[in-house]
């Protein structure tokens, strides 16, 4: 008891420590342990070593689903990095420089953050649907009626539609973080640049961007983790199977399909090995995230040190 009395911090840390350990950290290790077994989640576990990993990469059907899902996740990441991130920086800089009505724009651009994903997908339907969509009506109205398509149902556009929704709803978060970082830049630096006669964009590239570099790199890591684990948009749009020809399939959905939902055409060993193969995919996902995140963190800190 005296041992505890001398260490009062333990009383503060322990409750959170236990909850966090049991439900956030333990599952990661447990997932790896389960992935070494053949198991349906109810019956007897059968230890099979790395066979699940071997099967994931050698079974043609599974491997093609894995690469397909992975490609889509990477596609999402690249579009977010090269289109959304610059847009977020651009808008944040405009708001930072106090453009007319910046409070209103700030609230407007952040607001989709409060809309639940199923509603966002439904809004997408209202716009891009073949029959009730506004977009097709608009095309007809300007005389481009022959371009009208059931946009939501076209496999070629699948991931693009997903990205548009993700971008529209997610652009505000990064923008607010960048804006917050920009507001911490000291006034003297900006004033000095103004006196030197640096132009609007010159100030952006020479002062603002270097100053918020760490925030940008942190955002990049978050974007990557988001793209690799994005689930709800694809699930709501394409169902468990990932849409027509798995056109909107992503890593997390592939994982969900094998572990929980099982009305796919794969059949065979999937049913008896749902939990084993499911956690195997989770572990591969984790490896993919972890490797890139570590590389990003290392390069971030190396750069900020000089």
């Amino acid at each position: 008891m005296t041992w505890f009395k001398k260490r009062p911090f333990l009383w503060f840390i322990l409750p959170g420590f236990i909850l966090y350990s049991v439900f956030s950290v333990y599952p990661i290790f447990s997932a790896f342990q389960i992935s070494l077994n053949q198991w349906d989640g109810i019956g007897v576990k059968k230890f099979i070593g790395l066979d699940n990993y071997v099967e994931l990469f050698s079974n043609k059907e599974l491997f093609s689903q894995l690469t397909g899902a992975f490609k889509h996740s990477v596609f999402l990441f690249l579009l977010n990095t090269f289109a959304v991130l610059p847009a977020q920086l651009y808008i944040a800089y405009l708001l930072y420089s106090g453009i007319k009505g910046h409070r209103f724009f700030q609230a407007m651009i952040f607001s989709p953050q409060f809309i639940a994903t199923p509603v966002i997908v439904f809004m997408g339907t209202l716009i891009f649907d073949g029959n009730i969509g506004v977009f097709n009506k608009l095309l007809e109205a300007v005389g481009l009626g022959e371009w009208a398509r059931p946009w939501m149902g076209l496999p070629d556009f699948g991931m693009f539609i997903v990205w548009i929704m993700v971008a529209w709803s997610g652009i505000g978060v990064g923008m607010i973080f960048f804006l917050g970082a920009m507001k911490m830049i000291s006034n003297e630096v900006m004033e000095a640049a103004l006196l030197e006669g640096a132009s609007y964009w010159r100030r952006f590239f020479s002062i603002v961007l270097p100053q918020i570099k760490t925030t940008v790199l942190n955002m990049l890591i978050l974007t990557y983790i988001f793209a690799m684990t994005m689930f709800d948009y694809s699930f709501i749009l394409g169902g468990v199977s990932g849409g027509i020809n798995r056109s909107v399939d992503v890593m997390a959905l592939f994982f969900y399909r094998i572990a929980f939902g099982d009305n796919s055409a794969v059949g065979g060993t999937m049913n008896v090995n749902a939990m084993g193969m499911g956690t195997t995919i989770a572990c591969v996902m984790f490896a993919v995230i972890f490797l890139v995140a570590v590389i990003q963190v290392i390069t971030t800190y190396r750069r900020t040190e000089d």
Binding site: R103, Q106, F114
Partner: protein, 274 residues
């Protein structure tokens, strides 16, 4: 300081266009919610014969909107209370006391930032099933509340910077550790706690994945799951999907716009800093 660009009208136009688009979609959805299913499907763009509240009535009476709403609200409140209490205790313990392995403990709490809930969901699912909380809102609450990394990180930085004098003067006045924490430290952290509340609320309220896996009976499900049920069968349920989306979205957005200044400030200050 005049920081404005020279030709700001181009940029303004882009921002206006974006805002107008968002407002249009929201307005369009709200407008359609007042029309009957037949009108929606056959004459989507026409003017309504009459604005009627039939869809709203159907949502509240037939589709039991309030039940889903209260399910969501209960999960939000319970999760928030647990997260805030536990994370501020942990952050206070790490930030204010000196002990060995302090940095290791902090690092341990931070690794969670790299593990999204999806990765461990199978073991979590099995764990929750084994303790008998499957299909119970407590299962969802516990799983969501265990995501302590972000709040611990933000609050630890706050408590570390807090001057020690406050702690010592509370001690001199005879307050115990717990009283000092509850009466002095916790209230001091309220600005940071406020921004954490907002960030977490959005995440919990719109949480899709965990409830989808944990909650199986219709009586326990949350708002996002309700809307997905309607949108899954759009031809049949478009009126409910429309009015459900409006009811799940518009009130929250109105709240946000009323307090947007404070909310945005809070979120920005809780942002990812280097």
């Amino acid at each position: 300081m005049n920081l404005k660009p020279k030709r700001s009208y181009i940029s303004s136009t882009i921002l206006w266009f974006y805002s107008a688009f968002t407002l249009f979609v929201l307005g369009y959805m709200t407008y359609q919610a007042f029309r009957s299913k037949k009108e929606l499907l056959s004459n989507t763009f026409g003017w309504p014969d009459v604005f009627n509240f039939a869809n709203f009535k159907k949502l509240f009476v037939q589709a039991d909107f309030l039940r889903y709403f209260f399910n969501s609200a209960w999960i939000l409140v319970a999760t928030l209370v647990i997260i805030i209490l536990l994370s501020s205790m942990v952050a206070y313990g790490i930030g204010k006391f000196k002990f060995r392995f302090k940095n290791t403990v902090l690092l341990y709490f931070l690794i969670g930032l790299m593990f999204p809930v999806q990765l461990g969901i199978v073991p979590i699912f099995l764990l929750i099933r084994d303790v008998g909380l499957l299909n119970s809102q407590w299962g969802v609450i516990i799983v969501l509340a265990s995501g302590l990394s972000m709040p611990v990180f933000l609050l630890t930085t706050f408590f570390e910077k807090l001057p020690n004098d406050l702690y010592e003067s509370a001690k001199i006045d005879g307050a115990g550790e717990w009283t000092t924490f509850m009466r002095v430290m916790f209230p001091l952290a309220s600005p940071v706690i406020f921004s954490i509340c907002i960030i977490m609320s959005v995440q919990i309220w719109n949480q899709f994945f965990v409830p989808l896996i944990m909650l199986q009976s219709e009586a326990k499900k949350t708002l996002p799951l309700m809307i997905m049920k309607f949108t899954n069968n759009l031809m049949y349920n478009i009126d409910l999907a429309m009015v459900g989306s409006v009811m799940a979205t518009v009130p929250i957005l109105i709240l946000f716009f009323l307090f947007s200044g404070k909310v945005l400030e809070g979120v920005a200050s809780g942002g990812v800093k280097g």
